[in-house]
């Protein structure tokens, strides 16, 4: 092999369908972890802010624990531990989906907590005053506003999540990066493949970050 190998980007086109499969998994993982993470994260945030001490403490511990371990270790943990508990082997893809949902819930919960705390306390009192229950106050008054205020931050976290999904590489799940690596090996052109996926990641993340910025300016005006 010559050391000043010319770049040959013609190998990209034939491997596009294969890379597309990888990208589809990356996007699927991102969307499931985002939806599941926001849902569980909101519950965690409510638990942290609740007046039931053991519940608040358990939620705080979970969030702090998840946030102090490298994601890569969490991925390895789940991949190792889930089969031990369930007694049957689990595919890397399923394991990745469970891991990311559980992990992102901790980060989304911090965002939702900030969002809930950004709603003036008087609104909660107002809800109670007109006879609403806790869940009614939360779901009709507090959470919609919290969600709206935090929309740009939730999107920013989703961009980070989208980038972090590349770490499933460690357990061999076939995401965009893994697909690029395999295609690179098949065509003996790893360099071009890495450059190409970097470009794909960049374009998607850059576009989404513009959108987050746009949302931020819009919600800022509305308030």
């Amino acid at each position: 092999m010559s050391f000043f190998a010319q770049f040959d980007f013609s190998v990209i086109a034939p491997s596009l369908p294969f890379l597309w499969e990888g990208l589809k998994f990356t996007v699927k993982l991102t969307l499931i972890a985002m939806a599941g993470g926001i849902f569980l994260g909101t519950l965690l945030a409510l638990a942290r802010l609740s007046s039931i001490a053991p519940l608040a403490m358990a939620a705080t511990w979970y969030v702090n624990l998840m946030r102090s371990i490298p994601l890569l270790m969490v991925i390895l943990w789940f991949f190792l531990v889930i089969p031990i508990f369930t007694g049957k082997p689990m595919g890397a893809e399923t394991s990745a989906i469970i891991t990311f949902t559980a992990f992102e819930a901790a980060y989304f919960s911090e965002i939702m907590r900030a969002g809930i705390q950004s709603v003036p306390r008087g609104q909660v009192f107002a809800g109670q005053a007109i006879g609403m229950s806790y869940w009614q106050t939360m779901s009709y008054i507090v959470l919609p506003q919290a969600f709206r205020n935090m929309l740009p931050v939730l999107l920013t976290q989703t961009i980070i999540l989208f980038q972090d999904t590349s770490l499933v590489y460690a357990i061999g799940a076939k995401d965009l990066l893994k697909a690029a690596e395999i295609a690179g090996k098949n065509y003996n052109r790893p360099i071009e493949m890495y450059v190409f996926v970097a470009l794909v990641y960049f374009v998607i993340c850059f576009a989404l970050s513009r959108l987050a910025k746009h949302l931020q300016s819009r919600t800022a005006i509305a308030r």
């Binding site: 102090s68 490298p70 190792l80 890495y194 990641y201």
Partner: protein, 245 residues
Amino acid sequence: MNYHWNWGIFLEQVKGGEETYLHWLISGLGWTVAVALSAWLIALVLGSLIGTLRTVPNRWLATLATAHVELFRNVPLLVQLLLWFFVVPELLPRDLSLWVKQEMPAKEFLTAVICLGLFTSARVAEQVRAGIESLSRGQKMAGLAIGFTLPQTYRYVLLPMAFRIVIPPLTSEFMNIIKNSSVAFAIGVLELTFQARQMQEDSEQGIETYLAVTLLYFIVAFSANRGMALIERRTRVPGYITSAK
């Protein structure tokens, strides 16, 4: 649940070697700390420079700094690492390229440090910029009004305040760089995550291994947190609200 516990595993010898598993983990810890601290130095110096440049009146410098931030923030860390390791050496002049690929000492370590340093520099830059922009406009005007040049205004008026304000977010970035150093396993740096995977495969005592490694990461990140809290307390500006405990 069917698992065979063996807490004595750490003192057992590794397969086909003299040392114990504990040796592996301690040397992994050493590499993790080395990668994180070296990268943090780059991130702090470069990030401060870039963050400052983003706020200067010169359009070209500001655009260049923005491009740096966008480039390093919008590509996953792992992909950046693979680019630095596999692609960048190909782009160098032929002799240099050969040297990097065949002779460069501690190639994996240096690649990880440069990559992680630049990746984090973009994040540090954003924090520093936010710190400078949080200062009231009057401070800059006051500096210029008493005859400071623009660099002097930054050096004596803006930056000393901005840096103190951004210590809490920089603490998070410092802890992030420790966690992110785990990605270096992908190019074969023998750091903690690499050793964890190796020990898990070798000893088949995964849970004990991961518990120990998780605890080690926790201790390192917590120490970093306390260290930064100390700096925060020492550099506190009287009259400002701070959260250092």
